[in-house]
């Protein structure tokens, strides 16, 4: 596989050189499978095999690009993309800064995140996984939905500067299983991120779903009064918050464009709870890390928050070029964010439910449709979904619905943090809007934060 890819890149490199182009040539191949469930049936079973090429031509301060989804047997069409660059380049406008032309100093082959067994997963195995996780939990009213998305992603780059190339290959799976009541419209879920076949754990998802369904069927529903609550965030909520916070707040581009809630002088300042450590860690294969960025920079562990102190901004190559900064190896399609675990052992939802409670606790596993209300304040909003529970001080449990949280990142990860679970979990945040781009974060299983404001709550089912 990799030899074929490199052979193609070398051929394209020669074609680019023949045309007098100084170019970066990038390859993306996905072999994607998605089995979707709705109303307890397979509503769609699909696969796509797509090969995409990106060419960027440089001429001093000018830069143009051409992208294509290509037929691998049609080299002539691929060369037409290079011809298009030759036509476009004279008409490009020079940038006010010098863009870096990538020169790879060595060959890179990173297949640490590739698992042949996961790559070869069959339709029958995907179906069996879902049958196991839902066993005994469906009925005329409670229906199964979900996705089993898995695939192989190969990316590679070469530039006309020399013959060195870099190739990355990974396998990934993202599983979401939802059980919902058709009559009452409640919905609970269980999710899994996998990088290798042996990660798959249908029984674990079954246990999570069974516990949540039991509470949703047996416990009293409640419309929570608005006000302040001690909230325990689940991994989906923590991962989404961390991901958005890093994207909006901790990139050099966002800083220079005025969108970040952080300022340059905030580096080194104690802005978050001492219990919070956030790292971009390319050693974490489980979350599809890569060891070099698109410009060939070696990726190294990059602390963002250390014991509550904000450390540094991530600089991609273009932003670094424009603003005279040093790139930090962040010209990547996804970072590899890890939030450290804490000191309290709470491994499962069952553990959380069984913990002695000194106050009422709102468990928010998932924040639906999170959006940034005010980027410079770092304020986001979203509603609870998929299995929120209200854990009463007296040991009883109630079921809330559509609880809206409109808070700042510093509210979620600042001094109000009470405890962080020792146990961590990989949470898959991949979307499939564009090319396959497996993305996950490793986050604490639970984070407890006090005084989180609930601004709206719907009548429960």
């Amino acid at each position: 596989m990799s030899n074929q890819v490199i052979d193609l890149l070398q051929k394209l490199r020669q074609s680019a050189i023949k045309r007098g182009l100084q170019a970066l040539i990038s390859y993306h191949e996905e072999d994607s499978y998605l089995m979707r469930f709705a109303n307890s049936a397979i509503s769609l079973n699909t696969n796509e095999h797509l090969i995409s090429l990106d060419f960027i031509a440089f001429d001093g301060r000018k830069k143009v690009s051409y992208s294509m989804i290509a037929d691998p047997s049609d080299f002539e069409s691929m060369e037409k993309g290079l011809d298009a660059l030759v036509e476009m380049l004279p008409h490009a406008q020079a940038l006010s800064y010098e863009p870096t032309f990538p020169v790879y100093e060595k060959d890179v082959l990173d297949e640490r995140a590739f698992d042949p067994a996961l790559a070869a997963l069959t339709n029958e195995e995907r179906l069996a996984y879902f049958n196991t996780l839902a066993e005994g939990l469906e009925n005329d009213d409670v229906k199964l939905s979900g996705i089993f998305s898995s695939g192989t992603t190969t990316t590679a780059q070469i530039s006309t500067a020399n013959e060195h190339s870099q190739t990355f290959r990974s396998t990934d799976a993202q599983i979401t299983a939802v059980l919902s009541s058709e009559s009452l419209k409640w919905e609970v879920n269980a999710e899994q991120s996998a990088q290798k076949k042996s990660d798959l754990d249908a029984e674990g998802l079954h246990a999570d779903l069974a516990l949540l369904v039991k509470h949703y069927q047996e416990d009293q529903s409640v419309q929570l009064p608005v006000g302040k609550y001690t909230v325990v965030l689940g991994p989906a909520a923590t991962a989404e918050l961390s991901n958005i916070m890093a994207y909006y707040g901790m990139t050099g581009g966002a800083l220079m464009q005025g969108y970040s809630f952080l300022k340059e002088e905030d580096q080194g300042k104690h802005l978050f709870s001492e219990k919070i450590n956030l790292l971009d860690d390319p050693r974490e294969v489980e979350i599809y890390a890569q060891n070099a960025d698109r410009y060939g920079l070696e990726r190294k562990p990059f602390p963002l928050i250390a014991e509550g102190r904000f450390q540094a901004f991530m600089w991609d190559q273009d932003s670094a070029d424009e603003f005279g900064k040093t790139p930090t190896g962040h010209d990547v399609t996804h970072a590899s964010l890890v939030m450290d675990g804490g000191e309290k052992s709470v491994a499962t939802l069952k553990d959380l439910l069984e913990m002695p409670r000194e106050e009422d606790i709102l468990y928010v596993p998932y924040i639906h449709y999170m959006n940034v209300v005010n980027p410079t304040q770092g304020m986001v909003t979203g509603s609870s979904r998929f299995g929120a529970l209200f854990l009463k001080k007296d040991g009883s449990v109630q079921v809330p619905y559509n609880v809206r949280l409109t808070q700042k990142f510093s509210d979620f990860f600042g001094e109000r943090v009470q405890w962080v679970s020792n146990e961590q979990v990989a949470y898959n945040v991949s979307s499939s809007y564009g090319r396959r781009n497996p993305t996950a974060l490793k986050v604490p299983r639970f984070i407890c934060v006090k005084e989180i404001e609930i601004s709206h709550s719907n009548p429960s089912y």
């Binding site: 490009a92 209300v373 809206r404």
Partner: protein
């Protein structure tokens, strides 16, 4: 290729497939230019070609797609195999609503193909816009031009053969500044679709320059403004936020696949139930909404959907009462069967896929609100005691069943005793869908109505981005929670 496709469709029919269709994209081109603070940061052209095949077998769908077309039979065989395994877990065998076989074509109306316009001219347009935005108070500015041209050949096992040639243009300009409290503020302009065509000619430089002046002026007022007030009051939504209100709480809520639970693992469901059609008071009598895929100038108009059903203009909400949904062939059959009555007469022609490698799903077309009888914007303001005029889609967050929402806008104007007063910054409002639309007390006339395009509506798994439109008037809602 067409003959090869027909051969493969026949072969799968012979193997037991109930229905087969193929969408072959001989070519889809796009061109994206992005100028930030005078720098042409993106100058990208792209192309793609390939085929997607959908097979219905024993009541279940299989789909496969590839950009490798040297052996199309492999795509058909894969789709058939995917359907075969899917048929092992069927609870409601898929049936498709009847339709006429169609042999036809559709070409979107345009005078100038943007792909025939030179790069120099496009860059010059962006440079002019950049210069117009580069004024005191503006610290960041950008302009975008995106052009799409696609050819789609649709063939199905029922004898349909449709060719579509579609061109779209998506231009916009944006200006940002830092307010007196250090916050980033922005205004943007994307033109309403007022003409009869949607090619390069629809980008009116004079109009853009005038609006560049307007948004810079408005931005500078926001930069020195106080925060919007909190509390319950009237909100008058201009097109730049009313389109999104309509999109999120009428459009998505009325997609029949969401209503039937087909999006529960991702985008969410809908508070609407099958028994609500014909009965539910969705809004006040001033609310009439429709799905009109026949607007000439919008990306929500496409000739035929990806089931091969002709585009239509259908009522969704008639004087406040829910009467229709956004539907495709599969969902109307299931809805009628589940409701044990004929709610829907047939597909409304709204099943669309974003590309050859995605399967069609229910998508909005042009989800419009009919103009009302409450006059111009000025008339509505004059009849408002206390509230805010709001514009700009800064942020949006909606409950999973579309029953509640939170929006933040780019700008607000205070209204007191029928007069538009000072600008306020950081306005937000929230509400619950049904009470909100039932508090609709004024709908602007034709002078306030235009079609606002949406180029990035996300839905489905695998995820899909779709382009569509919303023709909306200015609307006033009373007793709305503002702030928070």
């Amino acid at each position: 290729m067409r003959e090869k496709i027909k051969e493969q469709i026949d072969l799968l029919k012979a193997k037991g497939a109930h229905y087969v269709d193929a969408r072959w994209y001989p070519r889809e081109d796009s061109n994206f230019l992005f100028m930030w603070n005078g720098n042409l940061k993106e100058n990208n052209a792209s192309s793609q070609s390939g085929m997607g095949v959908r097979v219905l077998y024993n009541g279940a769908w299989g789909f496969s797609a590839s950009s490798a077309l040297t052996n199309p039979s492999a795509i058909f065989d894969r789709a058939f195999d995917n359907a075969r395994i899917a048929s092992e877990r069927v609870t409601f065998p898929i049936r498709l609503a009847e339709k006429e076989a169609v042999v036809d074509s559709f070409t979107s109306p345009n005078q100038i193909d943007p792909f025939t316009v030179g790069l120099d001219e496009k860059v010059a347009f962006l440079q002019k816009m950049d210069a117009a935005l580069n004024q005191p108070g503006v610290v960041q500015r950008f302009g975008m031009l995106e052009f799409v041209r696609k050819q789609i050949i649709f063939l199905d096992s029922e004898g349909s053969e449709i060719e579509k040639n579609i061109i779209e243009v998506f231009p916009s300009i944006h200006a940002m500044g830092i307010d007196k409290d250090g916050g980033m503020q922005r205004r943007k302009y994307q033109p309403g679709r007022t003409g009869a065509t949607r090619g390069w000619e629809s980008i009116n430089e004079t109009d853009f320059l005038a609006n560049a002046e307007r948004i810079v002026s408005e931005l500078n007022q926001v930069l020195v403004a106080d925060d919007a007030p909190n509390g319950k009051m009237s909100v008058i939504l201009l097109n730049g936020i009313m389109f999104l209100q309509t999109h999120e709480t009428i459009g998505h809520a009325l997609e029949l696949d969401r209503i039937l639970g087909y999006e529960l693992s991702f985008a969410g469901g809908s508070f609407v139930r099958l028994e609500d059609f014909g009965n539910l008071r969705y809004g006040s009598e001033k609310l009439t909404a429709r799905a009109n895929a026949l607007e000439p100038n919008s990306p929500g108009s496409f000739g035929f959907d990806d089931d091969g059903v002709p585009a239509q203009d259908n009522l969704l909400i008639d004087k406040g009462i829910l009467v229709g949904a956004i539907t495709g062939r599969q969902m109307v059959e299931e809805a009628n069967a589940k409701a044990k009555k004929q709610i829907f007469d047939g597909s409304s022609g709204a099943n669309r896929a974003t590309s050859f490698y995605r399967v069609p799903i229910e998508r909005m077309t042009n989800i419009n609100i009919d103009p009302g009888t409450d006059g111009s914007l000025e008339d509505i303001i004059a009849n408002t005691k206390y509230g805010l005029v709001l514009d700009g889609d800064k942020s949006w967050s909606i409950g999973s069943n579309r029953e509640q929402f939170h929006f933040a806008c780019d700008i607000g104007w205070l209204v007191e005793d029928g007069k538009k007063k000072q600008v306020v910054k950081n306005p937000t409002y929230r509400g619950e869908t049904l009470p909100f639309y039932n508090s609709l007390t004024a709908v602007g006339d034709e002078s306030t109505w235009n079609v606002h395009y949406v180029e990035n509506c996300g839905k489905g798994a695998p995820n899909q981005i779709m382009q569509l439109g919303h023709g909306v008037p200015v609307c006033r809602f009373d007793n709305v929670q503002v702030g928070e």
